[in-house]
Amino acid sequence: MESSVISVPVGAAAAKRAGYLRAYYGSTVGKKQVMAVTGVIMVLFVIGHMIGNLQVYLGAESLNHYAELLRALGHGGLIWVVRGLLLAAVVLHIWSATALTLGSWAARPIGYRHRQRWIESTYASRTMRWGGPILLLFIIYHLLHFTTGTLHGDFVTGDVYHNVVAGFSIWWVSAIYIFAQLVLGLHLYHGAWSMLQTLGLSHASYDRLRAGLAIFVAFVVAAANISIPLAVLTGVVS
């Protein structure tokens, strides 16, 4: 209550001292926008990854060839560039999310006694802070399972098709993947809309499109990815 109106350094000299980007990231809006930009990177990756995954339906040769291609592009360098970019995105996304979440929790030290009425917020928007950490755990499991093979049990380096079929033949492995994709769908449903809002990309003429895009991306990504363990379990892919 004792705080008074601050004076933000806005002149060029002051800005040089503080650093434009530092001042930007120091603000809550800046952090949130970093989350949105890293969110865009991750969403584009997830869409690309989904398209790659769907090649399992073209047979063993297609999928394995595609996997080989990814490893070979740019003399084997591109995959490391993309991995580096994604790692940076995940780290920044989580760092910002954590900082903002702690700030928000501190902003209401005494809560309401009567249950708060939610009117326009959605189940998806209210579970972002559950979905994020669950996705992090899933990403770690997924890498140890299909990338390094550590948690696989029947891993054949280079035979991606075999690894997928053998992996998803175990029902609880499939269950983990299906659950994670449902969580991803939910995170994307709010996330895709939210990131456009956070980046200021709203306009009366395409606001309806914005909502539609979020549903579309979330549904297509979750449904396409879930179809694969289901296809293995039902014997469609074997």
Binding site: M1, V5, G11, A13, Y20, Y24, S27, S104, R113, G200
Partner: protein, 259 residues
């Protein structure tokens, strides 16, 4: 009609508060919610007890002074309605009503249901104004303004600063309030000279006050008695990017030294 109230009572900013149960009997459905509290207070006064303190001024939904969280919803169950414009006909006999103050670290309780909202004043003072002397009203159409912009600026300026957005937000964020003040100037020609500086200053002050961080839940616009739209939050976000990454740094020198 007879209803049961659970009201937050807190002697002063320093004391611990608690809920106290009151039976409100013979309430007339045409009473406003605040008049219902007046009736209780009259009784409490006659009984020699401390009346329930709550904020109010105009009682016609235009000043933004009143503010109660009624059964978990800021300003109660009716959309686009301040607590003072809510009537008891929105409830029925036998109802149990919980009445709580706005809950946010940046809005400390002063007494009972009254909170200190001067954090909002400081956000405005940080940049929610135009420095140029406005003088007398300009001639009509002397400054051309697109009709859409004028309407949108008016919609943003409809904010009465009641704080329901903060109270309803899961994050106790003040983004809708701050954004409405940023947008009402950003949409008009008079607001342009200070546009880049304004958004930076107001956001910095908002952060300093200890509000939470917007995650685009949209419950703020749902409880806003003036239906201020979250589109304004997108405008603030847009201005924030512009002021940081796009605005001419050299041009900001002169403005910076003004404040």
């Amino acid at each position: 009609m007879n209803i049961t109230l659970h009201v937050w009572r807190q002697k002063d900013a320093k004391s611990k508060g608690r809920f106290v149960k009151y039976e409100a009997n013979d309430i007339i459905p045409d009473m406003s919610f605040l008049e219902m509290l007046d009736v209780i207070n009259e009784r409490l006064t006659l009984e020699g007890e401390d009346p329930i303190a709550f904020d109010h001024d105009c009682r016609e939904g235009i000043c933004g002074t009143c503010g109660l969280v009624i059964n978990g919803r800021a300003h109660g169950p009716r959309a686009r309605t301040t607590a003072c414009q809510l009537h008891m006909r929105s409830f029925k006999g036998g109802d149990v009503i919980w009445i709580e103050p706005w809950r946010a670290k940046a809005f400390p309780v002063v007494k009972d249901l009254i909170v200190d909202r001067s954090a909002f004043d400081r956000i405005i003072a940080a940049g929610g104004f135009i420095s140029a002397p406005a003088g007398s009203a300009p001639d009509g159409n002397a400054i051309p303004i697109p009709k859409e912009n004028a309407d949108l600026a008016m919609d943003a300026a409809a904010c009465i600063g009641c704080g329901a957005c903060v109270a309803a937000c899961r994050n106790a964020s003040a983004m809708l309030f701050t954004a409405s003040k940023v947008a009402q100037f950003g949409l008009l020609p008079q607001g342009q000279p200070e546009r880049d500086v304004r958004v930076k200053r107001m956001v910095a002050q908002m952060d300093l006050e200890g509000f939470g961080n917007c995650t685009n839940h949209r419950d703020c616009q749902a409880v806003c008695p003036k239906s201020v739209s979250v589109d304004n939050i997108a405008r603030l976000n847009r201005d924030f990017i512009r002021s940081t990454l796009v605005a001419d740094r050299r041009a900001a020198v002169g403005v910076g030294s003004a404040g």
